[in-house]
Amino acid sequence: MSLSAHNLSVSRGGIAVLEGLNFTLSPGRALILRGPNGSGKTTLLRTLAGLQRPLRGSVTAGAETLVYAGHADGIKSALTAQENLRFWSDIFGGGDVDAAMAAYELEGLADRPAGALSAGQKRRLGLARLIVAKRLVWLLDEPTVSLDTHATGLFAAAVRAHLGAGGAAIMATHIELRLEEAETLDVGPFKARATALDRFDEAFL
């Protein structure tokens, strides 16, 4: 088991958005979150990543097994593509930068300042970070935004390689990646019925 959620409720700004989520993610498997905009996919991923506390229930994950990739890629425009990636590699314990750049075909852009990259190239650089992080569970929030068809293929290949090596992934995406290891979780039925007004101070914290 890489990650599991038990009766998990998540909140945004003190208001419950999803409740009663139960799932278990095994090594080599992927979970694709579906749901309309604003249904709480990002909030769920941030809660799983430990950036915010669950409203109720619990998340069980091994220590230091998660890596999160949100809407922003965390790229410094003044640094080159390679310097950006090397920084994250150093922080997360030394993944292979060159291999990660090769996986997303970024070799030709290594010495270019990240500020001069296109949106899709920046996103590829952001996704390459997941490879250098060498974590078991990838938490991906809309990973294919601004990627073209070819780059989406590169991403699918990277996810497959990660799952093949015993990793796991949870991603919120609207694109069909055709991953045979993936299950789909529609968050729609878990929409919270009542707002959690009993702990409404949370809105101010």
Partner: protein, 218 residues
């Protein structure tokens, strides 16, 4: 841990980084004061240590909102919060990087700028020592203020208001040590108090800063 320090220093040195901003402000303040006060060398030597301390403090304040705001905007802060590095270490390293790019250059520039304000010869050593001891506290307290306003749009004003009262003890004891030194008096007691403030803030404030960053990221 070294990686984050190196990255912050590199970002400060590159185009668009904050390096030199504080130093330029310090230079402007010190150069303009004699014009505003008038050509009275005797008066300059009396106010020199106070002006230099105040200039250094305001120069420090100027670059504080860059400490976390840029990392928050581009998403790095979320990623760093989920990295193996504890947040307490992250905020300490951020404060250290801020001191190396802002505080240390101010300390090194102060003796040269003191000439412009006609600081008495006896005042140079106490000024340098008090700034070297006091500016780390300014960076650590400022990091706390920046942490409090992470995620607040245009939080610079709010942060200045929050941080300025916290800067008062450092300013009082730092400027007092420099002033007493310039007048040829014993300056060890205010210097000891200043060192105490710096040690206390370095020991305690990173925990507070990390806690508020955690709350602000929710």
């Amino acid at each position: 841990m070294k990686a984050i320090l190196i990255r912050d220093l590199r970002l400060a040195m590159r185009a668009g980084g904050g390096f030199g901003l504080g130093l330029a402000f310090f230079l402007i303040v010190v150069v303009l004061v004699p014009f505003a006060v008038g050509p009275r060398a005797d008066l300059h030597s009396v106010i020199a240590s106070g002006i230099l301390w105040l200039g250094a403090l305001l120069a420090c304040l100027l670059s504080l909102d860059r400490i976390f705001a840029l990392d928050h905007e581009d998403g790095s802060l979320d990623l760093l919060a989920t990295a193996p590095l504890p947040l307490e270490a992250l905020v300490s390293l951020k404060a250290l990087a801020h001191w190396l790019t802002t505080g240390l250059p101010l300390v090194l520039a102060a003796p040269f700028l003191a000439v412009l304000l006609n600081l008495p010869v006896a005042g140079y050593a106490p000024l340098l020592i008090s700034l070297a001891l006091g500016t780390p506290a300014l960076s650590v307290i400022g990091t706390f203020g920046a942490a409090l306003t992470v995620g607040v749009k245009r939080g610079g004003l709010l942060m200045s208001l929050l941080v300025l009262p916290l800067y008062v003890p450092t300013l009082i004891f730092g400027a007092e040590a420099a002033r007493r030194g310039a007048e040829g008096l014993e300056y060890a007691p205010p210097l000891a108090m200043l060192a105490g403030i710096t040690c206390g803030t370095i020991a305690l404030l990173p925990f507070a800063s990390a806690a508020v960053v955690r709350v602000n990221l929710r």
